[in-house]
């Protein structure tokens, strides 16, 4: 995604009552097991059989040692806030986007939910909550206060 070229929504056109649309994941053969687990409420991370390092987003070839055969394993779903930004403009409703550092190590992009947006701080303990997207599509992992 080349963010630098994204349009900015003029504030005058941003409908204030409508919720932000969360795009539905579109699983492919490589990512389907991750999204199937998400439907069951389980957050998975990638683990390399060779170098044993955890990675995210999961992929079949380890991004660190480039060995094939990385596998999925369940994450604890616990972590801490690494950073965040609360967006007020160009959106139907404010939201908090940021990175959470999982207990297993990887820092992953997410939204912080389940509390006042302004209340989240770097270092706060959080836990995964799966949030629905579109009818029939998998939910996506977000994080709420632990």
């Amino acid at each position: 995604m080349s963010m630098a070229e994204q349009p900015r929504t003029p504030q005058s056109q941003a409908p204030q009552s409508q919720a932000r649309r969360i795009p539905a994941p579109q699983p492919n053969p490589e990512t389907r097991p991750f999204w199937d687990a998400a439907r069951e409420g389980r957050l998975m991370i990638g683990r390399c059989a060779a170098c044993r390092r955890a990675h995210y987003y999961p992929r079949s070839v380890c991004p660190f040692c480039f060995t094939e055969g990385a596998t999925l394993e369940p994450a604890s779903g616990r972590g801490t806030v690494y950073t965040l930004s609360v967006t007020y403009r160009g959106t139907p409703e404010p939201y908090a986007i940021g990175y959470v550092e999982l207990e297993e190590g990887p820092r992953i992009l997410t939204n912080f939910v389940g509390a006042a947006l302004e209340s989240f701080r770097i270092g706060d303990a959080v836990r995964v909550v799966f949030t629905p997207t579109e009818e029939g599509a998998p939910p996506v992992p977000m994080f709420a206060p632990a």
Binding site: M1, S2, M3, A4, E5, Q6, P7, R8, R20, I22, P23, P25, Q26, P27, T31, W35, I45, G46, A54, H55, Y56, Y57, R59, C62, P63, F64, Y82, T83, L84, S85, V86, T87, Y88, R89, G90, T91, Y95, I97, G98, Y99, L102, G105, P106, R107, I108, L109, T110, N111, I122, T133, V140, M142
Partner: protein, 386 residues
């Protein structure tokens, strides 16, 4: 193969428009090409290499070469977002040094104020899309997250970031084409609405229609032209991303592109008289200043405060055209205007109020894409000859 001294920037043109509802994007590309050719004293048929990036319509180089009637023996459409055109200067110098072309044209143009965003040819879904798109990443919050972390790690403040905008606006008052020519204060920046924490509206660059073009040529061609000689001394480029979860938002890819450029050029940050530093947001500037070695990591906030970036006042005059923060950010991509103002400074053709005395060594650096996820940095070091 070193590119040092193997290529010169002989033409530079920034389109004066900031709002172009009555033009097409390819038309703007062509107008920018004409402007740069006129600046160089060359004609269309002299061009044998062409460079463009994702703002170019249709099939990119193929569509634009056909539209402009270019006869080419070399083309390159490396896409690193807004920093693409800085990378293109380096790639053009490499192509010239390798004998693949002798006169290269680089164009950028777009109309984000006048038409809806259109995706370029690079259209297949990205592998990270399903893992990132649901969370509403926008340019503002992907840079805001970096500012949040920088403040946490190093104690950087919104007041310090605001000084970057103050410096840009101090320069913009002398640019008749600047979108925002009014000088602002730190208080003005802090009083502007929050777009995405901790960034205020005045921490963000403008959205403008327009474009620019550059012409890079071989030494024997440059010496036959009438313009001051500006040669490419060194360059570096690098991508950076979340790295499988081993993400570190405290530095940018300029930490790699900068040292590579300095080493190739054989100069140090202390030698640089003028710096064009991509200013999509104030935080972008601050992180690049640290990553390029103008100050130590974490000290950028103190470095930019109190007017240190203002020409004639501070130690590191930057973005004397007003930058993306105040002057122009055509097609939501600022890389080409960074090189253009560096060329103006080296030629002694910046506005007299902001011209750096005896400016013989300049740097242009940029971050394209998203600082908070994946981005590409490009750095070039340019020298006036004679």
């Amino acid at each position: 193969m070193s590119i040092k001294g193997k290529a010169y920037i002989v033409g530079a043109y920034e389109h004066p428009t900031r709002h172009a509802p009555d033009k097409s994007t390819p038309q703007l590309h062509a107008e920018c090409a004409l402007g740069a050719l006129a600046d160089a004293g060359l004609t269309r048929d002299d061009i044998d290499g062409y460079f463009c990036a994702g703002d170019a319509p249709g099939f990119g180089a193929l569509s634009m070469a056909d539209y402009m009637g270019l006869k080419l023996r070399h083309m390159d459409s490396t896409e690193t977002g807004g920093s693409s055109y800085i990378v293109h200067v380096a790639h053009a110098a490499e192509a010239i040094a390798a004998g693949r072309c002798s006169i290269a044209l680089i164009t950028l143009a777009g109309r984000p104020r006048s038409e809806p965003f259109r995706r370029s040819a690079f259209g297949a879904p990205s592998p990270e899309a399903d893992f990132e798109n649901p969370y509403g990443g926008q340019t503002s919050n992907l840079y805001g997250m970096c500012a949040t972390r920088h403040m946490h790690e190093f104690g950087t403040t919104s007041e310090q970031l605001a000084w970057i905008k103050v410096a840009a606006s101090t320069h913009a008052q002398y640019n008749p084409h600047a979108m925002l020519p009014e000088v602002v204060t730190v208080e003005d920046v802090l009083a502007s609405p929050i777009i995405s924490t901790p960034l205020h509206r005045l921490d963000c660059c403008v959205v403008s229609d327009g474009g620019g073009a550059l012409i890079v040529a071989a030494p024997e061609i440059a010496r036959g032209l009438k313009r001051p000689l500006v040669r490419v001394l060194g360059a570096g480029e690098a991508p950076k991303g979340p790295r499988g979860g081993e993400l570190d938002l405290t530095f940018s890819a300029a930490a790699w592109s900068g040292p590579a450029a300095f080493e190739a050029a054989g100069v140090t940050p202390g030698d640089i008289k003028y710096a064009s530093i991509y200013d999509s947001f104030t935080i972008t500037v601050l992180m690049q200043i640290e990553d390029l070695g103008f100050c130590r990591k974490g000290e950028g906030g103190r470095f930019v405060a109190d007017g240190n970036l203002i020409s004639g006042v501070g130690k590191l005059p930057f973005n004397t055209d007003g930058g993306g923060l105040c002057n122009n950010h055509p097609a939501n991509r600022g890389g080409i205007t960074k090189v253009i103002e560096a060329v103006r400074q080296l030629r002694g053709e910046a506005h007299p109020k902001v011209q750096v005395p005896n400016c013989d060594l300049a740097l242009a650096t940029g971050i394209g894409g998203s600082l908070g996820s994946r981005h590409g940095a490009g750095t070039v070091i340019l020298e006036r000859e004679g």
